[in-house]
Amino acid sequence: MTLITQGAEAHLYKTTFLSPSIPAALKIRPSKPYRHPILDRRLTRQRVLQEARCLARLVREGVNVPGVLGVDWDLNSVHSLKGVEKGEKGVGAGAWILMEWIPGCVVRVVISRWEKYLSSRSHSQGNGSVQAEKEEEEAKILALLRRVGAAVGILHKAGVVHGDLTTSNLILRGTGADADAEEEWKDGQEPNLEGDVVLIDFGLASQSIQDEDRAVDLYVLERAFGSTHPRTEPLFGEVLEGYRASYRGSGSVLKRLEDVRMRGRKRSMLG
């Protein structure tokens, strides 16, 4: 079991489900000793279930999210998945969700690779015959951005808002043998931009069909995009185009997005 990320709320591990040949993601929410034990159990249970229910529902609706393989919402469980591997009884190690492993690369990395690839190319070339090739390459990134927008649109159509959309919470699902090729990328190599966009990390997700909530979801993504990928930010319009085309009702959300932008959501969170 390898630790992938350690956030404020949860630890994410790569592990297996049932058999060593089925990779899985394990999200453990450890007990928070600062809060009253009754409150701790209540909140942990609520959140684990909220996230698992959201994912299970989205899978049924055909939205590209990791499926739920197992859940333990009881902080008092004495049998911890982590403990077994270490050969010990991990008492109170936390409640958990075991999820389908999505092979591939987070969109944040894909885009930054693309940005690097682009700048390495612009250094080495500069004649007119490259123009057509350049447009072809740009068409690929535009298509990816539209798929990102469509993925968010389909999520919203299913009645869920993500609550924390960033390019780190989107995975470009890899296919074939090199599906998990995160490390095997050489500077300046053309990155793969093909594949399904899968939404992950529903820890802050909730059910909503309100234009306001949907628009805030888009706004958070837009802000994250701007701060993480300043060079690609001018293309963010493609994400919104993909969103617009993905479901009826997207129009009024995009209109609302303009209000949310004007309001600036009061604060500068991503600065």
């Binding site: 049932l18 058999s19 299970a56 899978v59 393989l69 197992g70 004495v78």
Partner: protein, 199 residues
Amino acid sequence: MSPPLLDTIHLSHLPPSMPVHVALYRDVQNAPYLRQQLMSANADFEYAFIDASTVLSRTHLLSAVFRAVNDYMNGRLKSRNVHSEIVFSLSPATNIAESFRKFGITDATKDLLVVKVSVTPEITHESVAAHLGQHVEGTPVPFDDETLSTISDIAKIKKAYKLGALNTAPPNQANGTHDAGMRRLELSVLGAIALRGAT
């Protein structure tokens, strides 16, 4: 009687001392007898007897086993023992009797899945194989997805999991292939098993 093809499996995250033994039979002749042993709580027949037509795949069955054993280890069983809990764990609903009606062995069962967990050291591959070989009258077949795919009754499974509306077989459609549809059905079923009883 032919020797059973008993599969002994070590599930990830469960203690290595607790392997799970699974056998799959076709053309079972004595389902009423086996069911009777369960009804009379004959301790020698503490198995999960499952109607194999309600099971989609290896992963489907084993995830129910995983849930049941995890609940067993945490002292959270809702039914008599870990084996009845496996049948119960296949169900998306909290009604135990109903779960047995839907997923358990019936007198009409022809294709049968049998599961036994080594909850004590005396339960071994050999002991389970011998006992089943003696008492199950049927044709042992491999417990694999290929075999199960010829047995599982998709319509029945969708109904049991209230997934009737789920689009599973749209070949040549934008949304993907038959495989993708089945994968989605399986993931939906796994989610339902994992979340049973969540309030």
